[in-house]
């Protein structure tokens, strides 16, 4: 009987482990792209503040990742700020729009159907409405979610609270003038195709593109340098 258990275990291992490894292997590629991209962006940045938008691999330790990436070049970039992390694969319905008005910079991210914003280690039950973090103003849309077990218990008692809060839909982050005015480097991933981007929004009216885009999650390769700067200094993706 114990030999039978061993055989069953081997069957589970042989059918499950290679698949798991492949998933994590894709994570390795993503981690390399994001980390090396950050290193490059920080090394070439002339702005004192760097914002990481739609972080994909740092998650709970994204601040540490930024600090590691900045370690040899932390003379110029003085503030490293995580805007959000994003889970899921490419979402054609999603969008990212970074626009610069007269005084403030506005980042609007709409998550796709299978995407969700991740604020690792933050108490999700208190993540709703408008919030301020490190000077950035957040407008967050959330929906309560119930796990399988919570749904079962909810049938028995209506007092069961949602055990997960999903931040879906739209996230709007406003960078106030006191942060944006001295220069801003925005790096991250576009939620539509998960290609990385880097933008230096300096005080000048003509922001420049700092790095090429790179596909990271196996989606069809996007065009190179598709990041466009419109005449009103809005930074958007080409359609």
């Amino acid at each position: 009987m114990l030999a039978g258990l061993a055989s069953a275990r081997l069957v589970i291992y042989l059918t499950g482990f290679p698949q798991t490894v492949r998933q994590y292997e894709a994570g390795n590629r993503l981690a390399r792209v994001e980390y090396e991209g950050l290193q490059k962006a920080i090394a070439t940045s002339s702005a004192p503040t760097l914002l990481l938008v739609n972080d994909r691999v740092g998650l709970a330790a994204s601040q540490a990742m930024l600090r590691m990436a900045a370690w040899p070049n932390n003379g110029h970039v003085r503030r490293l700020i995580i805007v959000d992390s994003l889970g899921g694969q490419s979402g054609p319905q999603s969008s990212l729009r970074v626009s610069r008005g007269d005084r403030e910079v506005r980042i609007e991210i709409v998550a796709g159907q299978d995407q969700r914003f991740v604020f690792a280690q933050v108490d999700a039950s208190r993540l709703r409405g408008e919030l301020v973090n490190q000077g950035l103003h957040y407008q967050i849309e959330t929906v309560p979610e119930y796990s399988l077990a919570a749904r079962v218990l909810r049938r028995l008692s209506k007092k069961v609270q949602p055990d997960q809060i999903a931040i879906v839909g739209r996230l709007v982050v406003t960078v106030p003038p006191e942060i944006g005015r001295s220069g801003l480097q925005i790096v991250g991933f576009d939620p539509r195709d998960m290609s990385s981007f880097s933008n230096d929004l300096t005080r000048s009216a003509h922001p420049r593109l700092c790095g090429p885009t790179r596909p990271v999650d196996g989606v069809p390769s996007p065009k190179e340098d598709v990041l466009l700067l419109s005449s009103d200094s809005a930074v958007t993706r080409s359609p």
Binding site: L2, V11, F17, G58, A60, D123
Partner: protein, 369 residues
């Protein structure tokens, strides 16, 4: 089977296990790059970032996962200095972000499996077919996957490694250097506890193994030594109280629906994998695959074996089985607040052992008939 042949066969089995893992892991290792949680402990422990080892004890993980300092955070005041030390040691090998960050993980798993076989042989009658089957069941469990693939998830691996070392160091009755072996065992228990908080059960299980013979009878002369096993726990609680303001500050203990709810969901999840861990999270997240039914069946077999041996104990009595089941119960008891498969490394040792003890008891009864 002579001891020499036995260990030759065990070595071959361990080698085959390593090869079977390598077949899938080699491409992964080639492309490996640290990610997620890995960044924080490396930043605070690796030589090139000028770490302060005292902070590994006094602050632990408190400042590791703070990305949004002005938003309400879950507590992560884990204290795992043994883990930090292994990250520092690895950074002496390579300051990079590549595969050398998995050195401790791979070495740790190899050592743990060797210790597992020593421990199983010591605590059972040592029938090769039983032990080798359980080595396969233990070594290829889904609970290892994260410890193999992610650098930071070595914490529970280090916990079980030091726990097994602590159990093996416990002196048998009449052995030489009893005091020295107990002292070394206590040190290993402390290392287990400071590798991962679930190691809080290590001193309790060690005390149980020390005080009870294999047949489950109490060794009266040893009872007076038992207070020594409180030392690691006292040390842990003192560190927590002095530097962290309490023993319970961890996000696993913060649950929106309270303890009763947590108890129901945690216990039901643990019951489905009590003997042989498998990834139940895939079911609750909706990623159910029919093959997962095999995991459920394996545990049902575990329950059936133990029930059969318990109901028909024969001349051997129930003591041996109860002793192992108590250890399993203690190891599982701490997991009900965090019933993750990856934290079941220690519980799985006793799950496998319970199956061997039950199978030996049943086969003895069958032979007699």
């Amino acid at each position: 089977m002579t001891p020499r042949k036995y260990w030759l066969a065990v070595s071959s089995l361990l080698l085959a296990t390593g090869l079977l893992y390598s077949a899938f892991l080699l491409p992964y290792v080639r492309t490996y790059h640290i990610s997620g949680d890995d960044f924080a402990p490396i930043l605070d422990s690796a030589r090139q970032y000028h770490p302060h080892p005292a902070l590994w004890v006094t602050r632990g993980f408190s400042n590791y996962f703070v990305n949004y300092p002005d938003l309400p955070q879950h507590g992560t005041s884990f204290c795992r200095p043994v883990f930090n030390a292994t990250v520092w040691l690895e950074s002496l090998l390579s300051p990079g972000t590549g595969p050398l960050n998995l050195t401790t993980n791979f070495l740790g798993i190899a050592i743990t499996l060797i210790l597992f076989m020593f421990f199983m042989r010591r605590e059972t009658n040592g029938r090769f077919i039983f032990l080798s089957s359980m080595l396969i069941v233990y070594a290829f469990s889904a609970m290892w996957y994260e410890a193999l693939l992610l650098s930071t998830f070595r914490t529970s691996l280090l916990m079980v490694l030091f726990a097994l070392a602590a159990f093996l160091l416990l002196p048998p009755e009449g052995a030489h250097h009893q005091g020295l072996r107990i002292a070394l065992s206590i040190l290993c228990q402390l290392a287990s506890l400071f590798s991962h908080e679930t190691g809080v059960v290590t001193p309790v299980i060690a005390a149980l193994l020390f005080a009870l013979r294999r047949d489950g009878r109490v060794v009266r002369g040893r009872l007076k030594v038992l207070p020594v096993f409180l030392l690691p726990l006292v040390c842990f609680v003192t560190v927590r109280l002095v530097f962290y303001g309490g023993v319970d500050h961890a996000y696993a203990l913060e649950h929106e629906n309270g303890w009763v709810w947590k108890g129901i969901t945690g216990a039901s999840e643990l019951l489905a994998k009590a003997f042989f861990p498998w990834g139940t999270a895939a079911v609750t997240s909706g990623a159910w695959r029919p093959l997962m039914g095999v995991g459920v069946l394996m545990n049902l077999v575990g329950y059936a074996l133990v029930a059969c041996a318990y109901l028909r104990p024969g001349n051997a009595g129930r003591g041996a089985l109860l002793r192992v089941l108590s250890c399993l119960g203690i190891a599982l008891g701490v997991l009900w607040i965090a019933p993750s498969t990856r934290l079941m490394l220690l519980a799985a040792v006793f799950g496998a052992m319970a199956a061997v003890v039950a199978a030996e008891q049943i086969s003895r009864a069958t032979d007699r008939q």
